[in-house]
Symmetry: C2
Subunit: 198 residues, 2 copies
């Protein structure tokens, strides 16, 4: 089975919620393909079919939607131990509603549709794990809607700083702005206001 080191994170991640036997884990791993992405490589482009899901093993990706005016909006950043890909597209074959692009050199474990289905069908614990995972993603997305609505841009930025400093410090500011739903100039202004004690 060759290089196990690159599956260490995955195992730790899976075992945060469930305990998998070595056998089960090796089976899961056999359905995944390690892939390297260079900075700016796309994992999937909006409009294309998203044929894969990906587990982030190192590096960082950005998922973003481009609207009809060409404006980008960042849905999320995917770091170590995140899963990414447009599930709607993955499952139904519809065009992906967002792009996912590497912000730096990034290593992912890639699952294609048929392998994924086989994994879910043949490893009951994995299926259970995935069900809970999907539910949690749903909950996080619902929470994001609430947060988007109930906070000013400055509050959102300060909260991001508190809850995820690694995002703020690792990622170019114009992407942070696009995550907060504002323009880079506005983020600059907000940062200036914060610097001089609001």
């Amino acid at each position: 089975m060759g290089n196990y080191a690159i599956f260490v994170n995955l195992r730790k991640h899976l075992e945060e919620t469930d305990h998998f036997t070595d056998e089960e884990f090796e089976k899961i791993v056999s359905f995944l393909t390690p892939v390297k992405l260079n900075k700016k490589d796309f994992f999937v482009r909006q409009g294309d079919h998203c044929g894969y899901l990906a587990f982030v093993n190192s590096g960082c990706l950005r998922a973003f939607h481009t609207d009809s005016n060409g404006e980008e909006f960042t849905l999320y950043f995917a770091f170590l131990n995140w899963w990414t890909g447009d599930k709607t597209s993955f499952y139904s074959g519809s065009p992906s509603r967002f792009s996912v692009q590497a912000l730096e050199e990034t290593e992912i474990l890639r699952a294609d549709r048929t392998k994924w289905e086989t994994a879910l069908d043949t490893i009951p614990l994995f299926e259970k794990w995935y069900r809970v995972k999907t539910r949690k993603s749903y909950e996080a997305t619902q929470q994001r809607i609430i947060d988007m609505q109930s906070q000013s841009a400055q509050e959102k930025y300060l909260n991001l700083l508190r809850k995820a400093p690694e995002i703020v410090h690792r990622i170019p500011q114009h992407y942070i702005a696009s995550y907060l739903g504002i323009k880079p100039q506005s983020l600059s202004r907000i940062r200036k206001n914060i610097a001089k004690g609001k």
Copy 2:
């Protein structure tokens, strides 16, 4: 088994995606309790444990979050054939992040946690149905984030009118405003602008 009429919608709803045998369907139904809600009754209050999920059989509910300033934001309206309830709270026992309140006299089919688990565990097709359903909710929520971000209030309102006229015409305007993320006065202004040809 008494009154089957109130389960007709549920059956049609389930069979949109999967075909259930009479046996399976009766089993599912046996895990549900019909409940009547009067106008303004709460199905769950934000902060309380959400002990149930509900299928809407008639009437209409509103799911809304109240933020720290007391401002309400409507997450969605639940009509015929919608499911509602805060799943996070339902599954983990955490406080519900939003309230769900009847906007008119409403009939729901209510599932409590243990019954629901039993249904999922003992009816594989139901489990499969539920998995797909959860995924679709997730996708819809992700789409809502995209829409919230990429449209002005006026565009959101016009789109809502196009895509869901029954919402706009059945529901008091201040709730529509809170769904769009604006104040009732602003919705009035927008409606006036639209009336005089933008």
